[in-house]
């Protein structure tokens, strides 16, 4: 479904805001990881072979861009995918709906045409 790629254009504004956050390979890796499951900063630091301080900085940048949210419970700070991803899903579904709506408007016309032809044929048969 290549037309879905067009939807990327819709994201460009949101992406602009996130570009700084996403221009780093480690941060993209962190997002991908959090897409699979929530993780603590310590987990992430270990996984990406970084110091805690380094990972905290990366998570901070992602958090500011709205891509990640964090919550501290006791001494552990848990990171998860942030609200922006949900907005994008809603935007994508709406875009997808508009595509199908446009398609179905055309399908209406085709079906109307078939209906019309059928009526004419029936009339001819009766004559």
């Amino acid at each position: 479904m290549r037309h879905i790629l067009n939807h990327m254009v819709q994201y460009s504004r949101a992406l602009d805001a996130s570009f700084a956050a996403l221009s780093d390979a480690t941060r993209r890796g962190v997002l991908e990881q959090l897409g699979r499951s929530d993780a603590s900063i310590t987990n992430l630091a270990e996984r990406f072979h970084m110091t805690l301080t380094g990972m905290k900085k990366h998570v901070g940048v992602l958090e500011q861009a709205g891509l990640v949210t964090t919550e501290k419970v006791g001494r552990v700070r848990t990171c998860k995918i942030g609200p922006r991803r949900l907005e994008e899903e809603t935007a994508w579904i709406e875009k997808y709906r508009q595509h199908w709506d446009a398609r179905f408007d055309e399908l209406d016309k085709v079906v109307e045409e078939l209906k019309r032809k059928e009526k004419i044929d029936e009339r001819k048969k009766r004559e």
């Binding site: 996403l22 991803r85 398609r103 179905f104």
Partner: protein, 173 residues
């Protein structure tokens, strides 16, 4: 969003709904003011299908459309976008039950493509169409839509390049 405008639109024409029913499923519904056999015909006869599958607003051109609508039969569409080389979309029909049910595979993306089921349910001369897309995994659906993962990565790779050579990119933009 705009509730008033939406309700006005509903009076004018039948509404298309899309719901992500589960992690792997998307469901699209729409009612047509015609008997099921006519709607079914428009999905299964290439000369009719061609007329509506790519409305102008999508900015794409359907170059060819072959459909062998029977169980095990294949279909193949060649579509281009903005002057690009045509991309091919293909698969095969798993179920063909006129005028109520069509099931096909979408094989252009390999194993990541969904299985599409379209049902046509006639009620008082109108037809409720339900299109159901079942992806092999949550990741496949995410990649097709929200993430558009490949496109994203491509965008980011381009961005990386820009960041590596800021002087050049500044000159161009």
């Amino acid at each position: 969003m705009n509730a008033r405008r939406e309700s006005e639109a509903t009076l004018m024409k039948n509404r298309t709904t899309v719901e992500r029913k589960s992690e792997r499923e998307l469901v699209v519904t729409r009612t047509f003011d015609a008997p099921a056999r006519l709607v079914f015909e428009a999905w299964t006869r290439p000369e009719l299908f061609k007329k509506w599958w790519l409305p102008k607003s999508m900015g794409m051109v359907l170059h060819s459309c072959d459909m062998d609508v029977r169980v095990g039969g294949g279909y193949r569409l060649a579509i281009s976008h903005g002057g690009s080389d045509p991309g091919e979309f293909f698969g095969r029909y798993l179920e063909v039950t006129p005028p109520s049910r069509l099931v096909w595979t979408n094989d252009e993306a390999g194993d990541a493509g969904p299985v599409t089921t379209v049902t046509f349910e006639e009620r008082g001369g109108k037809t409720l169409l339900v299109m159901h897309e079942l992806y092999p995994s949550k990741e496949a659906l995410d990649a097709a839509g929200t993430g558009a993962a490949d496109a994203m990565n491509e965008t980011f790779e381009q961005l990386d390049e820009l960041l590596v050579t800021p002087g050049e990119s500044r000159g161009r933009s």
